[in-house]
Amino acid sequence: MKKKRLFENIVHGVFLILGHITVGFVLLITIYLIVSGIPAIKEIGLVNFLFGTQWAPTKAEPQYGILPFILTSVYGTAGAILIGVPIGFMTAVYLSKVANKKVRAVVENAVNLLAGIPSVVYGLVGMLILVPTIKKIFDVPDGASLFAAIIVLAVMILPSIIKVSITSLDAVPKEYEDASLALGATPTETYFKVSVPAAKSGIAAAVVLGVGRAIGETMAVMMVSGNVANMPSLFESVRFLTTAVSSEMAYSSGLQQQALFSIALVLFLFIMLINVTLNFFLKKERK
């Protein structure tokens, strides 16, 4: 009997450790980013680092200002949301409320597929179709620009926006809609003036999720944005927070590499902020 209890306790212990492993990983990531990100910020100075407009780590008098990256990430994400959210939102309403079963199944499969396409493939298509097209239409010297990145990001966040919005639109009680229809509203009016407001925290969660996806995307953006550390401008080559880290990581060393860790720390803080917001909306939705 004693042996059996000991055995059960050991099993319990093993599961206890496995259960807490995600917490451990989150701590590991947080601690590593803070420990490796702080030294460079200390050396450069927080204000110079965050608000400096020049990134030139290889110059004789190196400059480590990441404001261009921060602004590019913010503008790029905002642009992607501005284009992607309306399209995704309208699609979600159509699929959840109007479409018949077959259409819904087909388009939902398409959306799942869109979510499964690797980001480098988006980058490749963007590089060979989008960039030359932008160059031609807008008559700019190089199509690899913030605008190209915004379009690619808008497409890439579509699946998350559509899926999360559909889930919350499906959960709207049928009685609400019936009541609205009985009062003389047409179906379309009902969907937009009753169902959508009822699902608003779920849709907000979808938007926040899209923000998270857009701000964290690296490879696709790297392939279409030109990757020069300019202050952001729609048709100029730009560098995002993510691409700033990945483009110089391979060959950097010393303070330059440490500064890259600091950029990652800034990105991580952005993401944590987004996660907390997302959780807030999801909890509201569950209620």
Partner: protein, 290 residues
Amino acid sequence: MNTSLKGEMKKSRKIYITLMKCGMLFCTALVALLTLFMIAYILIKGIPNISWELLSTKPSYISDRIGILPDILNTLYIVITTLIIVIPLGVGAAIYLTEYAKNQKIVAAIEFASETLSGIPSIIYGLVGMLFFCQFMGMKTSLIAGSLTLVIMNLPNVMRTTQESLKTVPQSYREGAFGLGAGKWRMIRTVVLPGCVDGVITGCILSIGRILGESAALLFTAGFAHAMGNIFEALTSPGATLTVALYVYAKEQGEFEVAFAIAAILMILTLIINFSATLVQKYFEKRRKV
């Protein structure tokens, strides 16, 4: 009165309705066409460039040819290693949450951690993987360091799908096992574990999809070499997966034909994975109803 007896509506109302209807149709069509275009474009551009020579050789400067066999093997090795490690961890964590954990605060903390993990962008995983596995643990740039990084990334996936399947195991089965005198471990082994098979399979499929598509996290942990070897040699040496190879060929070397060939292979794999995920889901739903 908005509507007269004839059923005529105010003009602004009519315009609003037509506008919204057209908007919905337009957006849905756009999404569907976009997907269709992506698939068709990649396959049409890529499939003609796939040849047996490309698939079965490694790159050689002497005979000036590019082969992607090493990249295919590396992808396979990384998928296998990651799954072998992540499944026990994910299943264990899910079992702890559904069977052992009693303190609601701890459950909430673990679930928050898992949600946080799934929101962290892959470039940050790559960076921390490089610092922790490659440098601190001394694994250098190698497939195993890449796999371990991917384990952390995919853990929330496996955990969530397993947890969902465990919720469908009826409470009475557990009580039945206890009633027959089984200990907790025996109950888990005989009742809970068989019940989570479908969750594990779904988790596996999702993880494979994510691993195939991953590039930013692998660039600095697994590197981009095209060396070839058996699984044990390969795990300790750097190597590119298909996605990383695509990036390198397209962005650094301008070899777009090879890049499109790889993209087509990835696209076909994505199609297969999506298809099997739907199939598996349908199969388990049917079985559960019976």
